[in-house]
Amino acid sequence: MARVDVRKTYKLYIGGAFPRSESGHSFEVLDAKGRFLANAARATRKDARDAVAAARKAFPGWSGRTAYNRGQVVYRIAEVLETRRDQFVAELVRSEGTSAAKAGKYVDAAVDRLVWYAGWADKIAQVVGNQNPVAGPYFNLTSPEPTGVVAVVAPAGPLLGLVSVVAPIIVTGNTAVVVASQTHPLTAITLAEVMATSDLPGGVVNILTGPTAEIAPWLASHMDVNAIDLAGVTDAELATSLEVAAADNLKRVRRAPASEPDWLETPALAAMTDFLESKTVWHPIGV
């Protein structure tokens, strides 16, 4: 007897668990040639709401960890991703239609990117923090603090693009709610499986799959989201409306790029500092 196919159900990643969409809906994901690949959960505003609640709940614990420990956890994600290299190469080949060699290059770059950011975890404070010279008997310190819950509209680059946007956000202590690329959502969920087994506490990264234009406005207007990264927004009109909605509670906004950046390049420090706030403390001395 022929063996029955075991097909994978691609679900959402919220609070460390893999729930189906609250609505029960799913959508078809096609490969590069337009053939059916799999069904993915179609997230709704309620899933976005749940994801924000999970990210908020995870924030105090994650931001309270030592930077060194956060670096270890991000490095662990790189380790686990490395062991599943072949799986990601195969997925990228199927969904993007690229050659195995090119896909391999991108997976390697994603692993390297995670390692790079893991190293930054306990160094960013030295680089962008400061002991400020002030005219008075004060010891004046500035330290970078995480902004809070960051909503991310992920870029089309299904693995390297996603990693390049999410890693700098979480390594500094923020928590993230990610709307995965609408065209390549499956790799994001496979990456979620890597995160779920990498000592990353539940809720630090939450991944939603579905139509960006339906989910993102709810995140942009959500009063409990502190910042939004429009890295993957290509429609100028949508970008403007998201920025307008984000102004309600003065969210930090990283604006949509004019075109998708080359993710293989070494990132700028702004990837991290855009979602850091400077805290300055005046401490009296000589008393």
Partner: protein, 326 residues
Amino acid sequence: MPPTVPTETPGLAAYADVTASNTTLRRFLHGLPGVDQVGAEARAASLGTRSIKTTAKAHAIELAITMVDLTTLEGQDTPGKVRALASKALRPDPSDPTCPSVAAVCVYGDLVGEVKQIVGDRVNVAAVATAFPSGRASLEVKLADTRDAVAAGADEIDMVIDRGAFLAGHYLQVFDEIVAVKEACRRADGSHAHLKVIFETGELQTYDNVRRASWLAMLAGTDFIKTSTGKVQPAATLPVTLVMLEAVRDFREATGVQIGVKPAGGIRTSKDAIKYLVMVNEVTGPDWLTPDWFRFGASTLLNDLLMQRTKLATGRYSGPDYFTLD
């Protein structure tokens, strides 16, 4: 009394011989039909699946806010904290003057005066009494506790029953205690402070006991029956409240006397609150859907109701940063 009640109901007097001795009371309470546990849980669960949206949801949230007994019952309660809570009870959402006040503020007896100073007669003040939460003290102590709170100006008294006596089968002792506390709720001008009787259903073990305790308290003349102190897990649950709602419904049919119900503890989200309101409507009917006959004993619930209310008004999700921590 609402018009749906038959006029020729016998009233409490018909039960005089039931409460004459522990034997007759026991025979009566144990003669009540048993609760079908599986059925009660299934019914509560099925009522919880109703979908309440848009205008009905807005109405339910508004109603639920007016039914909240905003509660703080901690050893660490300071006068400042209860004053802040009292101000919140008056105007739960300071940014929106159309937001209604809650039903009452529920505090320990010694803090009644503090609350009263802030709320005056605009919101009721409820005090827990009778050696709350355990109820382990002599009757004299419990009555003194109650009189103190009433003298301080409490509009409502939340008493706990002696669960030990109840579980041991000393029903008449529990009955007499409720009668005595009710008497202690009398004010100098002859009016009564509203009496709520807390069963602590988490300690009563079975739904049958919840039904018996409900009838016992209602026969003793309570104004409200309340599930829990909030200090014992499980606190209020949907099936337990279902059993109590059935008891007050049957009691009104039998005697013509309407009794209120107050689930307390463990109700934290608007969704939960709406499930309770659906159940009230289905089990007892709309007569109970007012703050006079149904209350929520809660603290964190109010913030969630306010967040949902803001969401409906503004069309965007709100966050806990915009509401008080209490």
